[in-house]
Amino acid sequence: MDLLDLPVRIFSDYTLRSVALGAAVLGVANGALGSFAVLRRQSLLGDAISHAALPGIALAFLLTGSKASLVLLLGAAAAGWIGTLLVLGIVRNSRIKQDSALGLILSVFFGFGLVLLTYIQRIPTASQAGLDKFLFGQAATLLKRDVQTIAVLGGVALVLLMVFWKEFKLLSFDPEFGATLGFPARSLDILLTTLLVVAIVIGLQTVGVVLMSAMVVAPAAAARQWTDRLGVMVLLSALFGALAGVAGALVSGAAARLPTGPTIVLCLTGIVAVSLFLAPNRGLVWGWVRERGSRRELRVDAVLADLRILAMQHEGEERAHPIEVLRTMAVGHGGVDNSLRVLEERGLARQTESGDWTITARGMEEARRQSGTREEAE
């Protein structure tokens, strides 16, 4: 149960290795396909599909009595698909908007699924059905053949994504233009959504229907922070998904049977937080740094302009001015001391022996240039 042993045990422990493999594949598939969902502003669709899948799982079990993962996943996929079609149908044929339609389908299907689950657990012969693992996910319950199913389905979805890469990119960026080129938006949309359904369905046993949408949205949102290229974004997103999936699955398996879904979501949260704050260009921290920098620059410019005004008022004589004068002139912004230091470093201002400040010849020139560009801009 020692977390530090985990990396070693992945290579020695057969069960652990297959769990890690399953989690990695579902993470890659959801990360990659989730990128397209996020870019097409369909993040919530993932949530609706995964919740809608629950009654499908329960019905598949009730109808066949089988707990084989392929049977349950087929039920999940069918229900997820029907839920998606209903959302589209509601939006197309009524005045209800997409967000409300998603909310409706999500809760109705999920509620129905919970009723069915409760019913199944009351059947005496099926008391050990264990379908409730589909709620919050339990990676430890992944058997070898479950992992095989995940790997095959996930692999097929990824191959199709690569085969239709150009078409899906066009669909995501400009579907109408694509249609005029002869790539029908409706059919491509159906294909891409089907691949997303597959990716979601193979993750349900590990992550659970409740939190599955995090697996779709979070890696893509994090990846978008780091790059401006679609290909790089999809690769990064797949990598983030796999990382979170494997880490979550292993930690939950090792530590006192924690549910896997929440553990994975915690890992994803870490990845998203780091990306949101630290990514270059888009990261918030860099934004703050840039803003601070430009604000400081503006203050320095303002102080230089004040020095020039003072120098012009006393034309002909080189006079130094006490810092208090500059502070008074700089009402509304602080940091006069710092700004003067910066100006001195740049050779634009000079401190006399008495501690007062005066503008240098170069400073005069620079200040004139700046006021010139300001006036031009106005």
């Binding site: 502003r41 078409e167 990119k169 960026f173 109408e176 005029t180 080129l181 002869g182 978008r224 401006d228």
Partner: protein, 268 residues
């Protein structure tokens, strides 16, 4: 085809119009957006489609390309249904119809114009790259090829869309408000591009908002307000009477306009 007077060019194509629209009616729900529109666009013209807001200008060009399903009517391109002639028609959609924060580069967007010629599954390669760079040069954006598209100004984004249409190498171009919200540089660039296309024998249909520039930029005009008000040469059809019919007399431009030349006093 350059330099051939339009009349002869038409005859050369067996008299087939570049675009022929018959009895086109489009409705969103109960409300008709286009009502029984007949339209002929001769080959080699630069045509402006003007009309008040909600007149169905955008819907007209979308219906021509089958992007909206008409209630009735037919569209022919060079005498055949649009479906069979898709490759001959290039499209410049409204700039704000896409998300400019999409993670892709200028060059990548322009190469999308070749996807139709590439067909299913084939990936763009060196040829497409080369054509895209050429088109970017034509619109003056060569040094922006590697930029992420969100870093462009509105006018530059518009020129990217034009470059994307150029690499389609179509014979007919349908453009939806290419002058919308662009800077003076881009406006000039687009105008000279349009005139270059006409000189090369292309047919260009432009949804246009600025009535004052119609006589200066275009030689053919269609006035639209759900129904077709008038369509033909600017000299004969762009008249006070037709404009009043299309706009219901709400046009300040009416009192000032003169044919075929710019009128600096038309600003009021």
């Amino acid at each position: 085809m350059a330099g051939i007077p339009r009349g002869e060019a038409m005859e050369e194509a067996g008299g087939a119009q570049a675009i022929r629209v018959e009895d086109l009616t489009v409705a969103y729900g109960e409300k008709p957006v286009l009502w029984d529109v007949d339209l002929e666009v001769p080959q080699g013209v630069l045509m402006a489609v003007v009309g008040p807001n909600g007149a169905g200008k955008t819907t007209l060009i979308k219906a021509i390309m089958g992007l909206v399903e008409p209630v009735a009517g037919s569209v022919e391109v060079f005498g055949k249904p649009y479906r069979e002639q898709r490759r001959l028609v290039g499209y410049v959609p409204q700039r704000n119809s896409v998300d400019w924060d999409f993670p892709t580069t200028v060059l990548d967007v322009v190469m999308m114009g070749r996807y139709g010629a590439l067909g299913w599954l084939r990936r763009p390669g060196r040829t497409e790259r080369h054509l895209a760079l050429e088109a970017l040069e034509q619109v003056g954006l060569t040094e922006f090829a590697g930029r992420q598209i969100s870093q462009l100004s509105g006018g530059q984004q518009q020129r990217v869309f034009l470059a994307r249409a150029l690499v389609q190498d179509a014979r007919i171009y349908l453009m939806d408000e290419p002058f919308q919200g662009v800077d003076a540089t881009t406006e000039r660039a687009i105008v000279s591009l349009l005139k270059g296309m006409r000189a090369a024998g292309k047919t260009v249909v432009v949804v246009h908002h600025d009535l004052q520039t119609v006589p200066e930029y275009f030689d053919w005009v269609t006035l639209l307000n759900v129904r077709r008000i008038a369509s033909g040469p600017v000299d004969t059809e762009f008249t006070d009477r037709n404009l009043r019919l299309a706009y219901g007399g709400r046009v300040s431009y009416l009192t000032h306009h003169t044919h075929g030349e710019t009128d600096p006093g038309a600003g009021g």
